[in-house]
Amino acid sequence: MLDYDFMRTAFAAAGIVAVVSGAVGYFLVLRGQTFAGHALAHVGFTGATGAILVGVSPLWGLVLLTVLGGAGMGLLGARLAERDVAIGVVLAVSLGFGLLFLHFFTAYATQATALLFGNVLGVDMPTLWTLLGLGVVCLAALGVISRPLLFATLQPELAEARGVSLRLISVLFLCVVALAVAECAQIVGVLLVFTLMVAPAAAAQKLTTSLGRGVALAIVLAVAEAWAGVALAYWTDWPTSFWITSLGGIFYLAASLAGARSRR
């Protein structure tokens, strides 16, 4: 299967995105902001469809709107970012606009499916390089903010007293999440970013109580999920996103069972 160029590209793209998703997802789960991540993906859908409409690459539309959305959520305050109803409304409106933009665009169905459910087998070389570049930026930014981010997540009042700006950290982190979401949407689509961003991280947190090992495990699980998904799709000819989401569910379930047993 690795004889084919498109398969090699698919594995590379899935690997890059999984590393980013696993690492960023760990902090997203730790902060209890997974729904915000989900909403950013939907905002990204508007961006991607809008970009198609004006003739720009959908990836850049996705990146632009998710980052704007992330910064906006961070500025509006941590409390709003956790308010389910507000996020849910933004999420629905975004999908609605995306639908409208697609309506004006002729090659409706395939584009819509690719954006909503991902199309890792369709990643070309320029897109792969873009994914790599964005991934490096995303991980580097996460590395720079990770210490105050962790402090602000675990002990916000104390962090504030020590001089950490909670709002700045929140904005920067949501921008990092936005980049990760945009990457992730290329592989599994905007509707399914949960599977790479949340499932591996949540499974990792059930399996280990150490922070460093948790991040590493989240990355390993995400990569395993993504690569196994691509391989299974190749052998079965079923959609990659189906396999990736199924594996995500299985990993999470297995980790829950294992975690519950080890605690007994």
Binding site: P148, Q155, E157, A159, E160, R162, L211
Partner: protein
């Protein structure tokens, strides 16, 4: 030298005056119990001392310098909330506060690790710290929070309601531990609480807040009908019984009722 000095300080939150023109001197190495009904401004006062809330008028100085954010001489234990990171070990939780305001990866150097070891040792939580937060009892978690507040060898400790939701036995342990640390390390301690009685064995003086006013002095000076009646703005009776003190309003014990209300 005075550890904390307030001159004509008015603290306001969202346009509401919480403390009105308060003057206050707290000496070094004093153990001061901060008491007062719910909403009296105990947390607000601590946040102002930390430099997180600028006074509407007046000046606050801490250990001879104006109150400012990021003062390393202050250790702070915020009023506890439900622990978010229940799956993380106590040690990782405590360590998140080491240099947590600096950018970069959350990696501890040798000095950081030694600091965490020392703080955990001081509160007798070295063995506890290996376990995930979610599996610890309330009293055990308070000890970890105390260890976190002791990082970096502060001279002033602000402890916000460390006795909240602990049973009387554990309350006594926490008070004893803080008293012992205060003497060993020559600390100034502000210890806020709902109830006076658990603090009685440790207190040097009490700071009683109520109705925007503050009164500071020994228990004999402050916990009296006339002083508390002024702070509460209603008729208060103080009853001494078998070494315990009961603050009564219209035949009901005030602190006890508030405690119940808090958990309802």
């Amino acid at each position: 030298m005075t550890a904390i000095r307030l001159d004509g300080v008015t603290l306001a939150l969202g346009g509401r005056i919480v403390l009105d023109t308060v003057d206050l001197r707290i000496g070094e190495r004093e153990f001061v119990g901060v008491l007062g009904p719910n909403g009296a401004g105990k947390t607000t006062l601590m946040r102002a001392i930390l430099g997180l809330l600028a006074p509407a008028s007046g000046t606050i100085s801490v250990l001879g310098a104006p109150a400012a954010r990021g003062n390393p001489a202050i250790g702070y234990m915020p009023q506890s909330r439900a622990a978010l990171a229940a799956r993380l070990t106590g040690r990782d939780f405590v360590a998140a506060a080491v240099d947590g305001h600096r950018w970069g990866l959350p990696r501890l150097g040798a000095a950081g690790r030694a600091g965490v070891d020392r703080a955990l040792g001081l509160v007798g939580a070295t063995a506890l710290a290996a376990r995930p937060l979610g599996e610890l009892s309330g009293g055990e978690r308070q000890r970890l929070l105390l260890a976190q507040a002791l990082l970096g060898s502060p001279r002033l400790l602000l402890l916000d309601e460390p006795l909240m939701s602990l049973d009387p036995h554990r309350q006594r342990d926490v008070v004893e531990l803080v008293r012992q640390l205060q003497r060993e390390l020559a600390l100034t301690v502000l210890f806020s609480a709902h109830e006076l009685n658990p603090l009685l064995p440790a207190l040097d003086r009490v700071l009683y807040l109520g109705g925007g006013h503050a009164a500071i002095g020994t228990v004999a000076e402050i916990i009296t009908g006339p002083v508390l009646s002024r702070l509460y703005g209603s008729d208060i009776e103080v009853i001494h019984l078998e070494g315990r003190i009961f603050v009564m309003s219209a035949g009901c014990e005030i602190e006890r009722d508030e405690h119940r209300h808090d958990h309802a």
